[in-house]
């Protein structure tokens, strides 16, 4: 069990400096871990960035990798979770030809089934948006590609929110500061 590889979500809060991604990806590379998805954006606190990385690993390895990430001085805090501990989401965009889309006939059904949003529609193309877990965005991809030609497809990295204990970053920072000044 311990040795089984499962998907982990690693959350990393860092300084907003040049070269942070390099520092983080180096640590995955050293241990031969492939990054499945990656999403980076400013966090709720100005000057602090948040990385969400998913990777397949066993528990022992992910623990070690996260400790190594946490050890970098530019990293403020990092931790890992399994899917059960998270609410997580991805977003996908699909571009299809307008004439093919209209020819489907069952548009309302499709939109209801997948909770699709239509973001743009021109005489040339329609851009659909779907949010959900990987298998959900993949499900739509599959269904669409059976029925028409997908002109373009893009899926974001995962973003996630912790279900369990709510430790706010600002509290965490205050704690860090306190520990540091002891």
């Amino acid at each position: 069990m311990e040795n089984k590889k499962i998907l982990y979500t690693v959350t990393i809060f860092s300084e907003n400096h040049v070269g942070l991604l390099n520092q983080i990806s180096n640590i995955f590379t050293r241990r031969g871990l492939n990054i499945e998805t990656l999403s980076v954006s400013p966090s709720a606190i100005e000057g602090i960035h948040k990385f969400t990385v998913t990777t397949y690993a066993n528990r022992d390895l992910i623990e070690k990798v996260v400790k190594q990430i946490d050890k970098r001085v530019d990293i403020i805090k990092s931790f890992f979770n399994t899917d059960e501990e998270l609410v997580y989401q991805e977003i996908a965009l699909y571009k299809v030809a307008t004439d093919q889309f209209l020819a489907l006939g069952s548009i309302e059904e499709l939109i209801r089934k997948y909770n699709i949003r239509i973001l743009e529609m021109t005489t040339n193309c329609v851009v659909l948006e779907k949010t959900g877990h990987y298998d959900e965005t993949q499900g739509l991809f599959k269904e669409l590609s059976e029925k028409l030609t997908i002109l373009q497809f893009i899926r974001s990295g995962r973003i996630a929110i912790n279900k369990s204990k709510i430790e706010r970053l600002s509290d965490m920072l205050a704690k860090l500061k306190e520990e540091n000044q002891q």
């Binding site: 070269g19 520092q23 001085v73 403020i76 540091n180 000044q181």
Partner: protein, 567 residues
Amino acid sequence: MNMSDPIKGSYILMESLLKEGVDTIFGYPGGSIIPVFDALYDYMDRFNYLLMRHEQGAVHAAEGYARVSGKPGICIVTSGPGATNTITGIGDAMMDSTPIIVITGQVGAASLGTDAFQEIDMVGITQPITKWACQIRSADEIADAVAKAFYISTTGRPGPVVLDFTKNAQTELASFQYKQCTYYRGYIPAPHVNAEQIKEAAHLINQAQKPFAIIGQGVVLSNAEKELMQFLKKADIPAASTLLGLSAIPTDFKLNKGFVGMHGNIAPNMKTNECDVLIAIGMRFDDRVTGNPNTYAKQAKIIHIDIDPAEIDKNVRTTTKVLGDAKEALTALIQAIEPAHHDAWIQSFEAYEQKEQKTVIEKELYHEGEHITMSEIVRKVSDATQREAILVTDVGQNQMASARYFQYKHTRSIVTSGGLGTMGFGIPAAIGAKVGAPQRTVCLFVGDGGFQMTIEELGTIMQSKIGVKMILLNNNYLGMVRQWQELFFQKRYSSTQMINPDFNQIADAYHIANRKVSNRSEIDEAIQDMLKDDHAYLLVVEVEENGLIYPMIPAGETVTNILTPHS
């Protein structure tokens, strides 16, 4: 200079270094760092500057300086090839937790990323092998970057920091205000020692019948030598050192059981797999210490005291961790443990000690064959310096012979490349050590291979008059590789025999006093000659070509699987 007036970036660097108490700089100039050297010209009365002969030498010298003095070693080099030449030393310092600050030149900020002449992505290259790497792009960033560099490099688990200094930042003007750095959010230099963890550890130690401690460099880095000895005495715990932990406690301290690891002593290696509680203090269970981690100390409860949370459970699963500075942890533990006696347990080391004495040590030190052994030279130099000297080693058989046979009275008396095992470390590290501890005798043991890897630094020794005592253990082989070939590769000596130059003539060319010894009868006198004054000296000793370092735990084997000459 009126401090409120804007000054050039290169001068801000000089002033910042002074604020941090820097007295010594190792360096090598070049195009994109010339403005810094131009400023240095005005500070020659305040810094002891050594012009090295290669940037690798500059970094290793900075390491040697840091290791003996406890202060960060500083080196300044140019961009591009100057910067890349420092990589080995930076990696070495990362592996061995040595505080150094490497200041590299960089092309002007406007040319970054254009493949400008001698541009190299130094920050990108060194991020994985530094504690911190930072590019300074304008003069107003310098003071803060330097302050942060010193803070990060020297606090907590020390390590190398790179400051990549664009040329425009060196020449631009900015006003100089210096504020030492004492805080960086997200960086906890040393976790505060946790009372619960101390309680748990003390409980295990109090229960122990057969406790055994392994001392790492962490003890030295946190200046915890006294506390360590108090701790060991109070609970009567025998202890041995890792390579980098050697000299933390004196050789003749009665609970000192020597040296663990691949070429360590038999008793502490055997006892690792017999003890009931293993207390690891400021060490990281390197594979050269553990052999096969799956069979390492399986019977024991393991207490791991370390400042770096990432080391806990990295290689060996611990029963109890004590996170924090070794000095703080030991101080708390001394209070928490009961006095104890473990006479029978400690006595049980003796059988193994005698075995090693008979099968290995006597043969090495009182060798009957005509050839000189590395071991006897090392011990004789150690004796002749009354155990007062600093040992610097290169890498290979010379390193293991000196680690085994050199003896110590004082801490910070061994400078060796442990984690990276860098051949060529020796000569420049010895230079740095001598500069960092000018009152002490510095003895370098180096092989014929390693000597030729940084032989150019003889020029530094000549020019800067560095009184290092170099003992070249010449076996005309890449001896350690030859040893593996003899033992594990059917004596197929591929690429290990060397035709060497006349090393004495080379020393002559550098005006370094020297002598060559090929017979046992000449050794004592030659050593006396070498030690008679404080000048540099090269003692070339023609040692046995086929010598083997024993005992040996073959790589990846169980620590009790120890080869000796008759096994």
